[in-house]
């Protein structure tokens, strides 16, 4: 009996009951880089990962920047990637707006507006909340509030509580979405991490089921918790916004914890690739 219990908690044994790894989803901010500085060794680790028979995709809840900006920053930091390998919550939001055929009041940074080009925004009948410190003032929030009270759906790019900036922690969109939900007694539709739909959407064009994928990120709830809830394995890295004890905030706990992205790649290459 004791031997069986030990065996069932062995991560290698767990993998033996899963299908071979086909895809690796990688968070950006806090995992590969922090603001304009790469995590030490991350570029080289990504290069090694690309030599393995897995597809790599970069997934992010970043709401302040459009895909092109994210791509250009990563290239400047010498990461090897293509723009189409990036999937963001902004893209997910745009898809939803098109599906519902609504005209949004976009509370997103000017720099993110590029990803919404082509959508009608005059006489709005929907509210999209991203992270927009420059626009989050009392007047604009009241405007959004009144629209929602009149029946406009509230769409949240994601509900992150906070994120890490160079000068410390900063409020994410989550608190403002929660406040507006309370004010209007409605519930927002959340399109970003940790929603299951976000991860499934990211894997859709990879022809890959969640059981064949692993997610690497620094946010216990949004990256690892969300991915595991969608059926993936999650690796929590202790960089970026990670704070000791975060791993205890999700159930089940992270499949694995690593100091940083390079260590996570080492683990994948050594333990998670196909049958020997």
């Amino acid at each position: 009996m004791f031997i069986c219990l030990f065996y069932s908690f062995n991560p290698v044994a767990v993998m033996a009951s899963r299908r071979a790894l086909k895809a690796v989803l990688i968070d950006l901010s806090g995992t590969l880089h922090i603001e304009d500085a790469a995590v030490p060794g991350a570029q080289e680790a990504l290069a090694r990962l690309r030599q393995a028979p897995v597809t790599v995709k970069f997934v992010t809840n970043t709401t302040k920047e459009c895909k092109r900006t994210l791509f250009e920053r990563l290239r400047r930091l010498n990461f090897d990637l293509q723009e189409q390998e990036i999937f963001t919550s902004l893209t997910a939001a745009r898809n939803l707006l098109e599906q519902r055929a609504v005209r949004p009041l976009l509370l997103v940074e000017d720099s993110a507006l590029e990803d919404f080009t082509g959508l009608e925004t005059s006489d709005p009948n929907a509210v999209v909340i991203g992270l927009a410190p420059d626009h989050f003032n009392y007047q604009t929030l009241n405007k959004a509030f009144r629209l929602i009270l009149d029946g406009a759906p509230l769409i949240a790019i994601h509900k992150a509580r906070y994120y890490k900036r160079k000068d410390g922690l900063a409020l994410g969109p989550g608190p403002f979405v929660t406040g507006l939900e309370y004010a209007t007694d409605t519930q927002a539709t959340v399109v970003g991490k940790p929603e299951k739909g976000f991860f499934l959407e990211a894997l859709r064009d990879l022809n890959c089921s969640p059981e064949e994928a692993v997610m690497i990120g620094d946010d216990a709830r949004d990256d690892v918790g969300g991915a595991q809830n969608a059926g993936m394995l999650g690796i929590l890295v202790k960089t970026g916004k990670y704070r000791p004890g975060d791993e205890g905030k999700i159930n089940p706990p992270p499949h694995l914890m690593c100091d940083s992205f390079p260590e996570a790649v080492n683990h994948i290459l050594e333990n998670l690739l196909g049958s020997k």
Partner: protein, 253 residues
Amino acid sequence: MAAGSSMQWLRSVKGVILDMCGVLYDSGEGGGQAIHGSAEAVRRLIGSGLTVRFCTNETQNTRERFVQKLCVMGFDISVSHVFSPAPALIHILRERHLRPHLLVHDDLIPEFDSVDVSSPNCVVIGDAADNFSYQNLNEAFRVLIGLEKPLLFSLGQGRYYKETDGLKLDVGVFMKALEYACDVQAQVVGKPSAEFFQTVLSDMKLQPHEVVMIGDDLLNDIGGAQRCGMKGLQVRTGKYSQSRNVEQLILRK
């Protein structure tokens, strides 16, 4: 209710707590106007020998300025008999040796003149209106999340209120925002918190069953008071006189 039994409890009444907005006056342009007959009624209550106190959740002004406004309307009210969330909070801060980081309306700051605000070990938010900027909220968040024991006080928990130029978000919205950001629960000071009503009762040196609360807000005035053991008398002015649907929204929670 039988007339006989209602006369019974009236005889044991030794004190009255009056809500202000919606009972004594209506808010609006130019500071608002007195509800007809209210000033004289207040004078009669005080003259009758009953202990009279006043309750409000107003946090966009100091008590002094607020009472001044009422005096201009014809009321004879002394500041020390008016209970608003800020002084009640200050009492709590003193008792618990707390130093607050303040996110409140500029006009409320003087209320905290005697309070030590250095090295804050708690955060206080009030109806700050235009002070609810991302920068100010972020600052409050950073103080809160940096505390070993995050302690958040909210002066009231309203969702929104009506002003002449439309509906505006109230303090409760930003309380929820900070609660979510830090995964904590705020302590609400002001109606309908039991502690708030208890502060007034202690000042009156009366027991709950000896006091009647008069208010227009079913949940926050009447509900809150009755949960403490007082009797509640609801008036059909103020919030009561607004449309039922709006009332449902305003009064819920």
